[in-house]
């Protein structure tokens, strides 16, 4: 008997009495809505995770980035609003010493300050984790209240990969001291664009 068969057989023999699967969407629909403007909450929580939040128009992205990261010269950009200097499809070794990675998020989540970045928005996904600094563009209209709303909108079927990113990489493994910039990016800047107030 293969391991697969033996495991399935053992699991079948051990199954506890069946219990029902709760309706998560219905339950989440009944949760009390958080007070206040969803974008304002997103901004506040994102800042608490160590994110720098900039406000602007989409067409100003290049200027905002240049001002925020004046010394960045090796830039990988997956955004159409900013030209990169290193090709998105570069080999890992080439990506290892880039200064900046720029991309556009699909949505943001107010309750935890995270942005959703699927593979189609990342190019070669290694760049997003190798770059010391990352800039993410996000439309204010794409901010949802919580993860329930986020997962209802997300479609991973067409993607190889997708990641929620909430702030720069960090660790507290040495005496619980928070250190920003563990293995991944040391800074994350969000540029919020689009109509204010929705």
């Amino acid at each position: 008997m293969t391991a697969r068969e033996s495991i399935l057989q053992a699991v079948r023999a051990a199954r506890p009495a069946a219990t029902p699967l709760p309706d998560v969407r219905a339950a989440a629909g009944g949760f009390p809505p958080a007070a206040g403007d969803v974008v304002a909450r997103f901004r506040e929580v994102a800042r608490a995770t160590g994110v720098t939040v900039l406000e602007g128009a989409r067409r100003e992205a290049a200027d905002l980035v240049a001002r925020a990261y004046p010394d960045a010269s090796r830039i990988v950009s997956v955004s159409t609003h900013l030209a990169g200097t290193v090709p998105v499809e570069s080999a890992s070794r080439e990506l290892a010493d880039i200064d900046l990675f720029v991309c556009e998020a699909v949505l943001g989540v107010a309750e935890n300050g995270a942005v959703w970045l699927p593979a189609s928005r990342l190019g070669r996904r290694a760049a997003a984790f190798l770059a010391p600094d990352v800039v993410v563009l996000l439309d204010r209209a794409a901010v949802v209240a919580d993860l329930h709303q986020a997962y209802e909108r997300l479609d991973l079927a067409a993607e190889s990969f997708g990641v929620f990113v909430a702030g720069p990489s960090k660790t507290a493994d040495i005496e619980q001291s928070l250190v920003i910039g563990a293995h991944g990016p040391k800074s994350l800047t969000l540029i919020l664009f689009g109509a204010v107030g929705s």
């Binding site: 391991a3 399935l8 699991v11 219990t19 998560v24 009390p32 290892a96 991973l156 990113v165 563990a182």
Partner: protein, 485 residues
Amino acid sequence: MSANQRPALPVLTHRGLPGRAERVDHARAAALFNADEARTDWHDGALWFAREKRDLAAAAVAEWEALRELASAIKEHTLSHLDEYLLAFEERALANGVRVHWAADAEEHNRIVYGILERAGSSRLVKSKSMLTEECNLNPYLEARGIEVIDTDLGERIIQLRREPPSHIVAPAIHLTKEDVGATFHEHLGTEAGLADPVALAAAARAHLRDRFLAADAALTGVNFAVAQTGALVVCTNEGNADLGAALAPVHIASMGIEKLIPRFDDLAVFLRLLARSATGQPVTVYTSHFQRPEEGQELHVVLVDNGRSRQLGRAAFWRSLKCIRCGACLNTCPVYRRSGGHSYGSTLPGPIGSVLTPGIDLERYAALPFASTLCGSCTAVCPVKIDLDAQLLHWRQLVTEAGHAGRVKALIVNATQLVLGRPWLFRLAGGVGRRVLRLLPRRISRLAAGPWGEARDLPRPPAQSFREWYRQNRPGASRSRRAP
């Protein structure tokens, strides 16, 4: 005594696990840990800090209790249909181009991982955190076969360099001070002697590991959740190490216990809202990565591991322990864990959840663990998936005693208690004798009657009369008046 003069903590040999036949002696290991009182206090405080952060995060979510109910119900449903969800997951994963492997036990898991590496010609493996590979003892298995294994989570790397097991499932090096880490990095990474600044130490580790990430030809990650509906593998980290490894290496192996399945993509919201808040008080981990299919030119493997889980599923009193999502909240809140340290449990998983899962692997060897608890129930109160940890601990105690593994003193106490409490006349007699004798004896001797509790405590002075005597004197006719109102 300053922190860097503190003696090293006693550490069990070979990644913490005692020899096969050796029984874990939690009380003895805890006494060794407690020998350094200042350090014990520091450890206690560090864990309690995490508990406080968890409380703040939980209180900020109005629907917290509803989320716990949902999470518990989803997990119980999944476990009660686990064979169906395993098959559904396998089908989706295969359709996504993921290679699916099944391992009945730890040995088979290790063989599969090595086989994948061998076929791919990989010899440099970077790992992100995986308690499962600790459970399977994967590292020594691979190292004996010429594979370089680098743990990349900062805490795991620290303890790997020190050749210690993790002492906590979320913060593997929580038992170490920054001075300890400084000494370890000085020895292994060549940092300046005496360096104890967490920022500088983390920077040194980042530089050291960056080269390993770029040189690796395989990456192994754990799995927090596997979605049966879509085949997605979800991994949560703060450091970005799982993503760096998986994005750079041509081979990605994800190892998971079969209990990690959840039915639907939307269910992730429930668990992700609970996980980081319960673990560290963060609203979510920095990275929540969803691996759906391999990138072009990459292999993505998932290894589904049983290793005793199906046995635990068949235990009516204990199957709910498989709901665990490994947040560590029960460790942080446990008064015994906080003051005895993770290594004292001698098992891969320490703390209340470890003491519930581990006796099922070897009851005799881990007989002490269900007793490493005050049964205060704090673990159950904070558990995000509502595992009845204290009830399960109590139940294991009964099984341990029935099987004759409780030890002579514990068995004697239990039997004597049963004898006395079962006979009211004997109870009254024993109480009367005790009150008189304990009052006459000097304190130094009388407190021996309290057993190990007396080591750090004085018994209160015995009262002159028993409650029964007092009641008779002060409430004459009380029982009659209750009967005839």
